[in-house]
Amino acid sequence: MTENIKVWPGTPLSEKDIKEKRILVTEWQPNLKYAWDAGIGYGRYFAELKKGRIVGTRCDKCRRVLLPARVFCEWCFRTVDAWVHLQDTGTVNTFSVAYTGTAAERLKEPLIPALIEIDGSGGVAIMHLISEVDPWKVKMGMRVRAVWKPEQEREGAITDIAYWKPI
């Protein structure tokens, strides 16, 4: 069947068609604003970040640390047992040297986004950024430490940790 089809539907447009207004479009820019409640688990997690501490929760059934902190263990499907204090040091699980931002815009200076296994969590990683290092010298397994924002600038958010730097 397909070898006999000569014309496949669809009309590709070029950049020029748009720029020279050869086709008609209707534009709309949403002006929406949301406020997401941090909830019980993340609420405490962020409150502790504001104090310069990383906390997780612990499930005694699967003996696992949950990070970011949450109030229920999704595997055992039960309420967690305790809050646990973790270190603000960790190990690079994986990383990138990124020249792209959120909307695929290009960055002149690369960022080093990484998954960092937090000490005391049994190897659970969180997403964050590494800095104060030559991006091409970052390695998996590299030891890093959190660089906290000054206390008065912290607002109870993941960005209260400014970035992580090699130990």
Binding site: M1, T2, E3, I5, W8, P9, G10, T11, P12, L13, D17, I18, I23, W28, P30, W36, A38, Y42, F46, L67, P68, E74, N93, T94, F95, S96, V97, A98, Y99, T100, G101, T102, A103, A104, E105, P110, L111, P113, A114, L115, E117, V124, A125, I126, M127, H128, L129, M140, A157, I158, T159
Partner: protein
């Protein structure tokens, strides 16, 4: 459960920007699929729609918007959504609509119009991340793929040059696909020299954003046998979702793809997928993903996919061709439509209708897979004749 066959297929070109609206793309592909098996919309008992995030075109309840182009009015209609896994899942949905005995003929349509989102549809992905612990870091979707590719390469000692061969193979395969957006004859050096997006991901490791639509017609056994002498049977389906906390699983291996594949293989009675599957369409939005997903599909040992690729075993003329269509890297990545494009490719290949893309040796069984959501869902379908 009843036996179900795919009896018809339709597809639009994949393109960076289509003049057609989403409805028009859906209509074109639906009509083409029905025409291909000489059915009319009156023969269709129900319709399923697959289309990825509403944020791409900011049309809320997009499946309702698309419903006239889908031929859905005054029929049972629903949309399934699993992010990038949607395309194959929509085929799975069509299967259970018919296998359950509720309907005899189901029209399955997948549509994507990513170009509406300016300046780049990647921006629409920002709310896919956790809004508390991830998005505030200025997250780019590409970061995730970079982490995973890095982890995969490092775990197995695979090189960037080996992975680049996937792009070379798939873009070349796509030269024979009449709907392809980014087919090309390129070299490993071209990939290695292309713009660094997020190391180790380079521009030519990445599939494009696309507009396009694909449709398939599913029919119960007795109906399928009346419609065509060459039904392509759905032998197995599977899908599985894994943890959203990416820091609590090791990215080097897609376990959820394996679970989905095992579900589909069990249903199909497949014990040795490497021997019993003739062609595969693993999801390849990024070059390493074809290898990563093929390992999850149990088509080779963990870490062995690159060797099969380098040895030419996954070429169209190889022992087990992967992405003979040209895949997302070559044909284009109209998210939901790309997953179903892979199912359509199996349909055409297994009927011997793939034209210049035809895999030699009369393939009898194929597996297609898509992947997505928050990069932790696998959807799988096995077709056979």
């Amino acid at each position: 459960m009843r036996k179900v066959a795919v009896v018809g297929a339709g597809m639009t070109k994949f393109m960076r920007r289509a003049q057609e609206t989403g409805k028009e793309l859906a209509w074109e592909t639906a009509k083409m699929a029905l025409d291909s098996c000489e059915l009319t919309i009156k023969d269709v008992d129900c319709v399923v729609m697959g289309t990825a995030p509403d944020a791409f075109d900011m049309i809320h309840m997009k499946s309702e918007y698309l419903s006239d182009g889908a031929g859905a009015w005054r029929k049972p209609y629903m949309r399934g959504f699993l992010g990038g896994g949607t395309g194959v899942f929509t085929a799975n949905q069509a299967w259970y609509h018919v296998a359950s005995g509720l309907f005899d003929v189901c029209l399955a349509i997948t549509e994507e119009k990513m170009s509406s989102c300016l300046p780049h549809p990647q921006g629409a992905f920002v709310t896919c991340w956790d809004q508390f612990t991830e998005s505030p870091l200025g997250t780019s979707l590409l970061w995730f793929f970079a982490w995973e590719m890095n982890r995969y390469m490092t775990a197995h000692g695979i090189t960037e040059r080996e992975i680049a061969l996937v792009s070379v193979k798939n873009k070349k395969n796509a030269l024979d696909h009449p709907c392809a957006q980014l087919s090309a004859d390129i070299t490993v050096d071209d990939v290695m020299g292309s713009e660094m997006m997020a190391w180790p991901v380079k521009r030519l490791d990445v599939s494009p954003t696309s507009d396009g639509a694909v449709a398939l017609v599913f029919a119960a056994e007795d109906v399928a046998k009346r419609i065509t002498d060459r039904p392509v049977w759905v032998q197995g389906v599977g899908w599985c979702v894994d943890t959203m906390y990416i820091g609590q699983r090791d990215l080097y291996y897609p376990k959820y793809v394996e679970y989905a594949a095992r579900m589909a293989y069990d249903m199909a009675g497949i014990k040795e997928p490497r021997k019993e599957i003739d062609i595969a369409e693993p999801y390849d939005p990024f070059s390493y993903k074809e290898l990563h997903n093929a390992e999850g599909l149990l088509l080779c040992d963990k870490g062995e996919a690159a060797r099969l690729l380098v040895d030419g075993e996954t070429q169209r003329t190889g022992r087990q061709p992967w992405c003979p269509s040209g895949g997302a890297l070559g044909v284009g990545n109209a998210i939901a439509a790309t997953g179903m494009m892979k199912v359509a490719e199996l349909f055409w290949q297994l009927r011997g209708e793939a034209g210049k893309r035809q895999v030699p040796g009369k393939p009898r069984r194929g597996v297609a897979q898509a992947w997505g959501d928050e990069m932790q869902v696998g959807t799988v379908i096995v077709l056979g004749v």
